[in-house]
């Protein structure tokens, strides 16, 4: 059944369907791929969600392979809606996905964006150079002159506004008051809205999100503990990778928790990106690609990046600043970058005496009842 929140964002959802627009659609796979470049080249950037229901990808990939990559391959292989694809060197699984597209879907233009693993100067230069190559690839498909870089500045305005609104929504969700014991923005609604933001037209989505944010403002006058308008749910941090699964978020319905400071591919890593337009000299050069490279490499890092100690330090700060009571480490199965990072995360949490739970997620095919039982038991333990 479609979540109710989808009704509110019906125009956004419509804007991502091929029939809803005469624009071409470029599917992309990673939060390190700048959607402003895709939009500037005249495409609708569509974060590939994948076909979670099918098992046909098992004919192509081994059993112990990333379920997201498999779902994306299903979507690409059986859906002709994409006019081009932009993938990234996020992991070995994504490298192999690119191979399958190139080998079995020869007609589909695909670009592999090479993302460096370090934030130093030479890595930034290298990334900026790769972004120029991506821009040239996109422009060529849509017969656009790659010299027209002004287009990029224009497209960043809408993308920046989207990020700003998503941050505002996150603020509402994380610090919200509650209405008669019920959250104004449920975890399920919050994550579903982010999901919509990933593949709808920014201009349409922004207007609907702005309306939505206005509609959820609590009644400040009656805001008191007595009126039960005060936040009292348990703050939990969720850490993981591409957890874009409405069934998973629905597990949190009716649980008295808020998922604060989540460190996922669809949350802060997606929208906490410094605006290119706000500070033109952020890279120290007057070059739009250098600036984009800088802002993306400086965003909250994915576990694929080098520097686990910095990542742990950021986690520590977030936990103490937000009074986090427990951490859910949820990883899509067979994600090496996340799984190899878990021992360090777990060790750090143990040092901080923060309880944590590790969840293996199947991406659309998990045993949600079992997950719910485990999460409920974890929350019960935190409440003691």
């Amino acid at each position: 059944m479609m979540p109710k929140i989808y009704e509110f964002f019906k125009n956004s959802i419509k804007s991502s369907s091929p029939s809803g627009s005469n624009k071409k659609i470029a599917g992309y796979s990673c939060s390190y791929i700048p959607e402003e470049l895709i939009a500037a080249a005249g495409f609708i950037p569509y974060r590939i969600y994948g076909n979670k229901g099918s098992n046909l990808a098992d004919k192509y990939f081994p059993i112990n392979f990333c379920p997201y990559v498999k779902a994306v391959w299903e979507e690409i292989h059986h859906n002709s809606a994409f006019d081009s694809l932009v993938l990234a060197t996020s992991c070995d699984g994504m490298r192999r996905l690119k191979d399958y597209v190139s080998y079995y879907e020869k007609e589909l233009p695909v670009f592999m964006l090479d993302i460096p693993r370090k934030p130093d100067k030479s890595s930034l230069d290298f990334f900026a150079d790769n972004l120029k190559k991506l821009w040239a690839f996109l422009c060529k498909i849509n017969n656009i002159d790659p010299e027209e870089t002004e287009r990029i500045k224009i497209s960043t305005t809408a993308i920046d506004r989207k990020r700003m609104l998503l941050k505002k929504l996150t603020g509402q969700y994380e610090n919200q008051y509650e209405n008669e014991g019920r959250q104004l923005v449920t975890s399920s609604d919050y994550f579903n809205i982010i999901n919509i933001s990933l593949n709808s037209r920014a201009e349409i989505f922004n207007d609907e999100l702005e309306e939505y944010i206005k509609s959820i403002k609590p009644d400040i006058k009656n805001n008191s503990r007595e009126n039960n308008f005060y936040k009292n749910s348990l703050e939990i941090m969720i850490v993981g990778n591409y957890l874009n699964d409405d069934n998973f978020w629905s597990v949190f319905e009716n649980l008295n928790v808020r998922l604060v400071s989540s460190d996922l591919c669809i949350t802060y890593r997606y929208f906490d990106i410094e605006s290119v337009n706000q500070n033109e000299t952020m890279s120290g050069n007057n070059d739009i690609f250098d600036d984009i490279a800088y802002s993306y490499i400086s965003k909250p890092a994915c576990y694929r990046m080098a520097g686990i100690s910095l990542k742990l330090e950021q986690m520590r700060t977030k936990i103490s600043d937000n009074n986090i009571k427990g951490v859910i480490f949820a990883s899509l199965k067979f994600c090496d970058n996340t799984l190899y990072s878990f021992p360090a995360v777990k060790e750090e949490l143990n040092k901080m005496k923060i309880p944590s739970i590790f969840l293996d997620i199947e991406y659309g095919k998990s045993s949600y009842g079992q997950l719910k039982t485990r999460i409920e038991a974890f929350i019960e333990m935190l409440g003691l």
């Binding site: 081994p62 070995d92 090479d114 370090k118 290298f126 694929r304 021992p343 360090a344 060790e347």
Partner: protein
């Protein structure tokens, strides 16, 4: 009590009490001139004998405490580290070493206790467990790259954190493409590492020594080319010869004169074998992909018994061109970028198809090591690409390190079934 159970008791005792001290004692015992001589007699092939004696001497140096130690992943430019007289520990070799010693159960259990998921590659899990159990000397440096997979970057960084040497941890970021920008980016990283390690070792950066190492590496390459050319026609191998046993010298010791000498010996030995090979010798020729199991196993015997011979391995192919001694960093960058396991899977497919043609193989085997996403993820395309050339491929599910994850009966059945098919073609 028979000799067999006496031997087993000693092995059990060693396995149960294994620590860095007992490894040192074992190495010291075997290095005794008389024992070392007798040990050498147990090898049938000259190159095998040289490899084992050399590896043993090298391991003794690793454990003696007189040299700086670096942990490094398989495909990093070891010429650079060997020129700095650093002794090296490779995770793939560490994993193989623990498998050979029969202590994988313990190292994997240690990794599991430290929250390493059983879904991950056993090479890296076992290496992490072994490092945590202090089975290897503490590293002064840790160097890794994302060539060919992500695993080393993460597991090595975790080790650097454990050993509190994060300022001595180097990640070589390998570009996806191979163009001038990629060479510049990679060459710059290698240069920085060379100078930074020299500074930390408090030695003057000696680029002349590096050039010598590159020159030795070129010699190794030249011999390996001859070895491989010989193997294109060779079916009658020295007993127990296996190209996959030479990972340490081929990669870890690249840039040393001894490694070049080993390949010189191998070239000579295989050429003699080819010269004496009976023209009537006929066997099905196989190409081997990925690594092999490093614990005691019968895979290659089963293949022999079924008239099949592995004549080439993807990992022993010479994929890089001769290096320019005067431009060591650019040349080493180019060598890394030429590796078919880098970037696009088509690089690997092209290399496999080229080997298939060169060696005129009848079939291929992909050893599908548990948890190796980069290799196994390409299996279907490899199968289809080889099928286009009418070459059957066996995808052999198993584990290079954990014998409990690799049932021998199942492997035997699958290999025999495959051999029956290719022998009937």
């Amino acid at each position: 009590m028979g000799i067999g159970s006496f031997k087993q008791n000693i092995i059990n005792k060693i396995q149960n009490n294994l620590d860095i001290g007992s490894i040192r004692k074992i190495l010291k015992f075997i290095s005794n001139p008389l024992v070392f001589y007798i040990y050498g007699l147990t090898f049938k092939s000259v190159s095998d004998k040289y490899l084992n004696k050399y590896s043993l001497t090298y391991m003794r140096e690793v454990y003696c405490g007189n040299y700086p130690i670096a942990y490094g992943s398989l495909f990093i430019p070891y010429e650079l580290l060997n020129s700095l007289n650093i002794r090296l520990v490779l995770p793939e070799v560490m994993g193989g070493f623990t498998a050979g010693l029969g202590v994988t159960g313990k190292t994997l259990a240690d990794a599991a206790n430290n929250w390493y998921s059983s879904d991950l590659c056993t090479f890296h899990r076992s290496a992490s467990g072994a490092a945590n159990m202090d089975l290897f000397p503490k590293p002064d440096f840790i160097i890794c790259s994302n060539l060919a997979c992500d695993a080393a970057c993460k597991s090595f960084e975790d080790m650097a954190k454990k050993f509190k040497i994060e300022d001595r941890f180097y990640l070589i970021d390998i570009p996806y493409e191979n163009d001038n920008a990629a060479i510049r980016y990679l060459s710059g990283q290698l240069e920085n590492i060379f100078f930074d390690i020299s500074e930390k070792l408090k030695i003057k950066p000696d680029t002349d020594n590096l050039k010598k190492a590159v020159s030795s590496s070129n010699k190794l390459r030249k011999h390996l080319l001859e070895v491989n050319k010989t193997r294109e026609r060779l079916l009658d191998y020295p007993q127990y010869y296996n190209g996959l046993s030479y990972i340490l010298p081929l990669f870890g010791l690249a840039g040393t004169e001894k490694a070049a000498r080993l390949y010189g010996i191998m070239e000579k030995e295989l050429k003699i074998k080819l010269k004496n090979q009976l023209p009537s010798r006929k066997m099905k020729k196989l190409l081997w992909m990925h690594l092999k199991p490093y614990y005691r196993n019968d895979i290659f015997n089963i293949l022999e018994e079924n008239n099949c011979r592995v004549v080439c391995e993807e990992i022993t192919d010479v994929f890089w061109k001769e290096m320019d001694v005067q431009k060591p960093f650019d040349s080493l960058a180019d060598k890394m970028l030429s590796n078919p396991l880098r970037g696009n899977g088509q690089n690997r497919i092209n290399a496999i198809l080229s080997m298939a043609e060169k060696y005129e193989i009848d079939a291929a085997i992909l050893f599908s090591h548990w948890g190796c996403r980069q290799s196994n993820g390409l299996a279907r395309i490899l199968k289809d690409s080889l099928a286009d050339k009418k070459i059957p491929l066996l995808i052999l599910d198993g584990d290079c390190v954990d014998k409990n994850n690799c049932p021998s009966g199942q492997l035997k059945t699958r290999i025999e079934g495959f051999a029956e098919i290719i022998n009937s073609l």
